[in-house]
């Protein structure tokens, strides 16, 4: 392989798409040629900046799509698919084929397996035999709730047995008033820990009715500082509007203004902070912002506020 050929292989090296021999050869040439290493680094930087420009679905879009899909599938015209051969629900198939005693027997055995599984299986799966595991999985499969087992690891034990670590994800419904203790605990958790930013935004929306509770405000303050999604942070800021005179909230707003990566979020923090213009620390903070702010709009907003307050643009 010559230098030019190696250069053409560099993207595939970064994408881990070279076979063993090619990778060895490219690595050897990389070690020998500085310009090849520079080119590899340029490609790596390029992929990084391109990745940063990827379009993420805006918060809420996924939830909207799911709701729309759910509604469509419940629609008769689409849902009729289930009545087609091969797409029948279990009870349709059962009755279509005629009630058979064999089926009844199988169901009875499944029911027995279910009960046996419930009685005998250690839910933590520390010392479960494969047959018991099957019983456990079958029993859960017969459960109507969605159940998605994932295998995290499989190991050989010294005694010849196999240890399978299974992660179970089960759905359950929690229904109640948003100020119900259990529901609130779930909402507070969801506002911080769910993967879907749309869900976090929706949860914070619900929590805003309970902003008088310190635990709810604490969660929103945490979200404002830590959430990775700017829309979620903006939603949390919206919830804190009425509490902008509280010291913990002002401290969080200060952090946002000086550290948040998103100019829209910083702008909103300015808007909340200047609700309490009488406070002397606002001027100092805005002057501090002027020293480091790079976004034109945020700078202009701070400048206007400082001008209105007859303050200088910077500390001396």
């Amino acid at each position: 392989m010559n230098l030019e050929q190696a250069r053409k292989k560099l993207p595939f090296l970064l994408f881990d798409e070279l076979d063993f021999e090619e990778e060895n050869e490219v690595s050897r040439l990389l070690a020998e040629h500085a310009e090849l290493r520079e080119e590899l680094e340029r490609l790596r930087v390029m992929l990084r900046v391109v990745e940063a420009s990827a379009a993420e679905p805006p918060p809420g879009l996924l939830s909207q799509c799911r709701t729309r899909l759910h509604a469509t599938l419940r629609d008769d015209s689409v849902g009729a698919q289930y009545s087609e051969p091969g797409r029948r629900s279990w009870w349709q198939a059962w009755f279509a084929n005629g009630f058979a005693w064999q089926t009844a027997g199988a169901l009875a055995m499944a029911a027995f397996s279910f009960l046996a599984g419930r009685w005998t299986v250690d839910r933590h799966m520390h010392s479960v035999s494969p047959s018991e595991m099957l019983v456990a999985m079958d029993s859960d499969s017969s459960d109507r709730s969605p159940w998605t087992p994932r295998i995290r690891s499989i190991r050989n034990n010294p005694d010849g047995t196999v240890q399978v670590e299974i992660e179970e994800v089960k759905q359950r419904l929690v229904i109640g008033s948003p100020d119900d203790r259990e529901v609130r605990a779930v909402l507070l958790n969801a506002a911080q820990n769910t993967l879907d930013p749309g869900l976090r935004v929706g949860t914070i929306d619900l929590l805003q009715a309970q902003m008088d509770r310190p635990d709810v405000r604490d969660v929103l303050l945490h979200v404002v500082r830590k959430d990775g999604n700017p829309s979620v942070r903006l939603k949390a800021l919206e919830g804190l509007v009425r509490y902008s005179d509280e010291s913990s909230v002002r401290e969080a707003l200060r952090d946002v203004l000086l550290r948040d990566q998103n100019p829209t979020v910083r702008m909103e923090a300015v808007n909340l902070l200047i609700q309490e213009q009488g406070r002397p620390e606002v001027i100092g903070l805005l002057q501090e912002v002027m020293l480091q702010e790079e976004n034109h709009n945020v700078r202009e907003r701070c400048m206007n506020v400082l001008t209105d307050l007859n303050a200088t643009m910077a500390t001396f």
Binding site: K8, P11, F12, F15, E17, R42, L43, V45, M46, L47, V49, V50, E51, A52, S53, A54, A55, E56, P57, P58, G60, L61, L62, Q64, C65, R66, R68, L69, T72, L73, V78, Q81, G86, R87, R88, W90, Q92, P130, M133, L134, M137, S141, R144, P146, P149, R150, I151, I154, R155, N156, P158, Q163, V164, D196, P230, Q261, P263, T264, E294, N295
Partner: protein, 207 residues
């Protein structure tokens, strides 16, 4: 003392344990709507992301999401486990995106904004800023770079964009991408090379 070592699950356990997704698919094929919903939720974030990146429009991406999963719903009975479910699903979504691109002639890569329910979002503004120096020249360069990236992505053919999206953002292997796009691994490799070269040439001054 023998140390337990991780081993592959293949061949060790019954299929029902080793591949819970297959159970889910079979359940959905048999008409279990809960299973179908679980399947959707396992993959729909990726589907929406692909559609957003390829179409650069919230509305179009939402339409493709809808179209994709309705097609999956209607045709799941014909899925025969010849390939992975992900490949099958991504083949549907990429075809839907291609159809959308052809039908609506969507070429919005140049736009800096994405329309959302909350109004227009400027993607460039959502990118992390480098605030370490406050160097106006550097800021200007970053803005130019973002504009150039959008312009460059617009230079790629639909297929090159798809291969790049699936490999770079979805982390799929070229062989699988070939399956998804109904082409060979080698053709997918060529597309990826061309896409990377185009971007490398266009962004050369910035790197």
């Amino acid at each position: 003392m023998h140390t337990p070592r991780p081993i592959s699950s293949e061949g060790l356990l019954p299929a029902s344990i080793a591949n819970p997704e297959a159970d889910l698919i079979r359940a959905a094929q048999a008409g279990d709507s809960d299973a179908f919903e679980t399947l959707v939720r396992s993959y729909d974030r990726g589907v929406l992301r692909i559609a957003m990146n390829l179409l650069r429009s919230q509305e179009d991406a939402a339409d493709v999401y809808q179209e994709t999963f309705v097609k999956v719903y209607k045709n799941l009975h014909s899925f025969r486990f010849d390939c992975s479910f992900q490949s099958w699903l991504y083949r549907i979504v990429t075809n839907c995106c291609l159809d959308m691109l052809r039908k609506r002639k969507v070429r919005r890569e140049e736009a800096t904004t994405v329309d959302t329910e909350d109004g227009l979002w400027n993607r460039a503004e959502l990118l992390p800023e480098d605030r370490s120096h406050g160097d106006p020249q550097r800021l200007l360069r970053n803005k130019q770079l973002q504009a150039k990236i959008r312009e460059t992505l617009g230079l790629l053919t639909d297929k090159e964009r798809m291969v790049f999206e699936l490999r770079h953002f979805q982390g799929m292997r070229l062989r699988t991408i070939g399956e998804v796009l109904g082409t060979s691994e080698e053709a997918a490799k060529t597309c990826l090379f061309r896409a990377t070269q185009k971007m490398r040439n266009a962004l050369g001054d910035f790197l």
